[in-house]
């Protein structure tokens, strides 16, 4: 394995070298960085400008020399202990500083979207594989193909109009109107009838009930002014936490296993208690406080599991940890949503943003700034998710179907294992092997920035850095983005290959 990795890294470095040379050539033939001075009328000034830029970018050197001058600085970025110098861009800003600004922005944008689409895509893909050829499966298949076929910039413009501008208008004066109520009802009907499955009659009944229920809840929420001052309150949070505990129990064992069920419920109650007894700490916390409280609640949960777990100790610990995470997320969401009224006030009643990664000069409590980030992330995240969600759901469906037909799954069934054990233990784990590889490749690719999403939503990330540079023939800036992206792609390719061998012992890397 070590020999393999070393060989791959060396090969990657050679590829990187060749790729930078190819890129440098392409960029230098793509256009002239001095061309934009064509409109300068004053000849003296023009000569000065041209001379300054020529010196800054070594444009008077021959092409090969320019490349090696650039390479000399860039090598320092990969070798520890040397200075990392990627040159300056056309505005004389150092490229390394530009990258340091853009990189976190891009990470913030793509990380949440990628993780969310992996989780959602895999979950939905697996459900549709288990219910192959059901109405749910057909709907998801069609939706995935539709999302595949959507041009992201087109969706983005629609999202801005319907997901931000109109919702903001509505939030300014929440009222029960027929279209909004209809959308809410249809949404809830589709969601619940898809979850419940079963015969057509059962689905129709559940859908009708859920639709009516959705409309009723919606009217209630509007009437009580929930939309202008939303929140969940301790009651709903506790209810959600208990439901989470039941879910966590179901995930690892079954509800017959009272010991694990009660331990999870106990953990949920402890978690809620910790959160609400620490209210003064939570008015304007730091991330450290939050993680500390989360760790405390988890530790108590694990302690309960260890003490009362008995023979189910291992399962109980896992269920406890999952429960704690769920409770933590619920409390976090509750606190964030609760600051909505104050936040909405601060941004002039236009809470959902269409441009940028944060409101300029916005100051507020921890919760308000978190909400600010979230409202800025919402639309681009949806746009990215729509497209990569489709890929993940298709791949995990196909992979799961293949595994479910495998002999060892039949063996597991024949042994009399429960369907949940068969699906989660035997099938799911093996079906995930190709998905892990895919996810690694995907992460490598998104580091380069979601060019179109960033452009449409005005995020100043790697993608925008790249396109602006290409527009101005800004060699150093292009090469800076390129080398970071290429290194990420190569590293994650290597991770993908290694993870494949680690997860599937039949594969040997030689």
């Amino acid at each position: 394995m070590a020999a393999y990795i070393i060989r791959r890294v060396l090969a990657s470095l050679l590829i990187l070298l060749a790729a930078t040379f190819l890129m440098f050539t392409l960029v230098s033939v793509s256009g002239d960085p001095l061309a934009e001075f064509v409109n300068v009328t004053d000849p003296d000034q023009k000569a000065l400008l041209i001379q300054a830029r020529t010196e800054a970018l070594n444009l008077d050197e021959p092409f090969i020399a320019q490349y090696f001058l650039w390479l000399g600085g860039a090598v320092g970025c990969l070798v520890p202990g040397m200075d990392c110098d990627l040159g300056v861009n056309l505005n004389n800003q150092p490229v390394t500083a530009l990258l340091a600004d853009a990189f976190p922005t891009t990470l913030q944008l793509v990380l949440a979207a990628t993780v969310l689409s992996i989780v959602l895509g895999v979950a939905i893909g697996i459900i549709s594989a288990i219910r192959q050829y059901s109405a749910f499966d057909y709907t998801i298949t069609f939706a995935a193909f539709l999302f595949f076929s959507l041009p992201i910039f087109w969706v983005a413009v629609l999202l801005k109009e319907f997901g931000a501008i109109r919702i903001n208008n509505w939030l300014a004066e929440p009222a029960v109107t027929i279209p909004v109520a209809f959308v809410m009802g249809a949404f809830s009907a589709l969601f619940f009838s898809a979850i419940i499955g079963g015969s057509r009659k059962r689905r129709a009944l559940v859908g009708l009930a859920a639709g009516a229920g959705g409309v009723a809840v919606f009217i209630l929420l509007v009437a009580s002014g929930w939309f202008s001052n939303p929140g969940m309150g301790p009651g709903l949070v506790t209810l959600g936490a208990l439901a989470g505990a039941v879910g966590a129990t179901l995930l690892f064992t079954n509800l017959e296993n009272r010991r694990v069920l009660f331990i999870s419920l106990g953990t949920a109650i402890v978690g809620v208690a910790v959160a609400y007894s620490a209210t003064p700490l939570l008015t304007d916390p730091s991330w450290l406080t939050l993680f500390g409280l989360g760790a405390l609640a988890t530790a108590i949960g694990v302690a309960i599991a260890v003490i009362f777990g008995d023979i189910d100790r291992a399962v109980a610990i896992r269920a406890s940890v999952v429960t704690s995470v769920i409770v933590g997320l619920l409390v976090f969401m509750d606190k964030t949503i609760s600051s909505f009224a104050a936040y909405s006030e601060a941004v002039n009643g236009r809470p959902i943003a269409t441009i940028g990664s944060k409101t300029p000069n916005f100051e507020g409590t921890f919760w308000e700034t978190t909400l600010d980030t979230m409202t800025h992330l919402a639309l681009p995240t949806i746009a990215i998710m729509l497209i990569s969600f489709a890929g993940y759901s298709r791949y995990s469906r196909a992979s799961m179907l293949e595994v479910m037909n495998a002999d060892y799954v039949r063996t597991a069934r024949a042994k009399g294992l429960t369907e949940r054990t068969v699906v989660l233990r035997h099938a799911f784990r093996n079906a995930m092997i190709p998905i892990v590889t895919l996810a690694a490749l995907d992460f490598g690719a998104v580091i380069g920035g979601a060019i179109i999403t960033e452009t449409v939503f005005g995020w100043k990330g790697m993608g925008v850095l790249f396109t602006t540079a290409v527009n101005r023939f800004d060699t150093n800036q292009i090469m800076g983005v390129f080398i970071l992206t290429a290194v990420a792609v190569l590293i994650f390719n290597l991770i993908a290959d290694i993870s494949y061998a680690v997860l599937d012992p039949r594969i040997r890397l030689t």
Binding site: I15, L26, V470
Partner: protein, 331 residues
């Protein structure tokens, strides 16, 4: 082609219909191709996709004509005209709205702000987008198949070189290549397509190589070797037909992806350049008009979705047709 195993004039269905005594029906041996075709034609999504795609292709190429052949739509996509009713679409497909039944009108898709007929523009954009996607699909498939076959069959040095070369190409962003083309040729759609396919073939090359690596070890290839068949003959007669499914499916999906890639590049300003137009460029040009003239935004997007969606469904149908495993229902 096919020969009935038991000579009988009636086919399979005929035998069933007459519900005759035991030996009435015949068992027809079907070739691989026939099975694939029948599975494909039974795939509802693929058939719908094929219909929709055929409709779009026919309407795009016959309406405004292409090359020097005139079409049945008499308005030109580049000539400006008088704005009628603020340029809003005259297409009326719902008889009970506006009360005058189904009608096309003078400008079914409306007009842009300088009075150009938007139907003609959209059709022109569709033509270009389809052409770009088709060229990319064909060329990338050809290159990928050849490279994959050579590296998978011969192995050794040729494999190493080709595979490292694909690694190299995978790191080069499409955008910069498109920018070079835009700079040099003014974004000629055909050249753009050719150059893009020079980058896109790599994924198919990997797929074909994988198939060839496993086919190389099969007995029938060994038998062909033993009988003294040349490498060329083994590759083209024995191995390629065995991975034709992978290749066709991948080609279809490449076409679907190419439609979106072209649209995205044109949207960013690095793809097709005016005076030529494409669906992506139309959206890019008119996206700011969303609030005043929404139809300028809706139509090209709708056509991109219809094309990409139907090609994706055709690809899905082909995959099911070529891979009998996929259609097996779980026990």
């Amino acid at each position: 082609m096919t020969s009935p195993l038991t000579p009988s004039p009636t086919g399979w269905t005929g035998g069933m219909r007459s519900a005759a005594p035991e030996r009435e029906f015949t068992i027809e041996a079907r070739t691989q191709g026939q099975m694939v075709r029948s599975r494909f034609f039974r795939h509802r999504g693929a058939m719908l996709g094929l219909g929709a795609l055929a409709f779009v292709v026919i309407i795009a190429y016959t309406s405004i004509g292409f090359w020097k052949i005139p079409g049945w739509w008499d308005l030109d996509y580049s000539s400006t005209g008088v704005l009628v009713n603020e340029g809003s679409p005259t297409l009326d497909l719902i008889p009970w709205v506006d009360g005058d039944g189904i009608s096309v009108g003078a400008h079914p898709f409306g007009q842009d702000q300088i009075g150009r007929d938007y139907f003609a523009l959209t059709m022109r954009g569709t033509q270009i987008s389809l052409m770009v996607a088709l060229v990319i699909g064909v060329l990338a498939t050809f290159l990928g198949t050849v490279a994959g076959a050579i590296s998978g069959y011969y192995g050794g040095a040729s494999e190493a070189v080709i595979m490292r070369f694909t690694d190299l190409l995978l790191t080069i962003p499409l955008l910069i290549v498109a920018a070079v083309i835009a700079q040099w040729t003014g974004g000629k759609p055909f050249l753009l397509a050719v150059v893009l396919s020079l980058l896109i073939w790599t994924s198919l090359a990997r797929l074909v190589r994988g198939e060839f690596l496993s086919l190389r070890e099969k007995e029938f290839v060994e038998a062909a070797h033993a009988m003294g068949a040349s490498s060329t003959r083994i590759i083209f007669r024995h191995m390629l037909p065995n991975c034709i499914g992978t290749i066709i499916v991948s080609a279809t999906l490449t076409i679907a992806a190419a439609i979106l890639i072209e649209a995205a590049l044109s949207y960013l300003g690095f793809g097709v350049q005016s005076p030529d137009t494409s669906l992506g460029l139309l959206i890019s040009t008119y996206q700011t008009a969303f609030n005043t003239r929404p139809w300028l935004f809706w139509w090209p997007g709708l056509f991109i979705i219809i094309i990409a969606l139907s090609v994706n469904f055709i690809g899905d149908g082909l995959r099911d047709a070529f891979d009998p495993k996929q259609t097996r229902v779980r026990a």
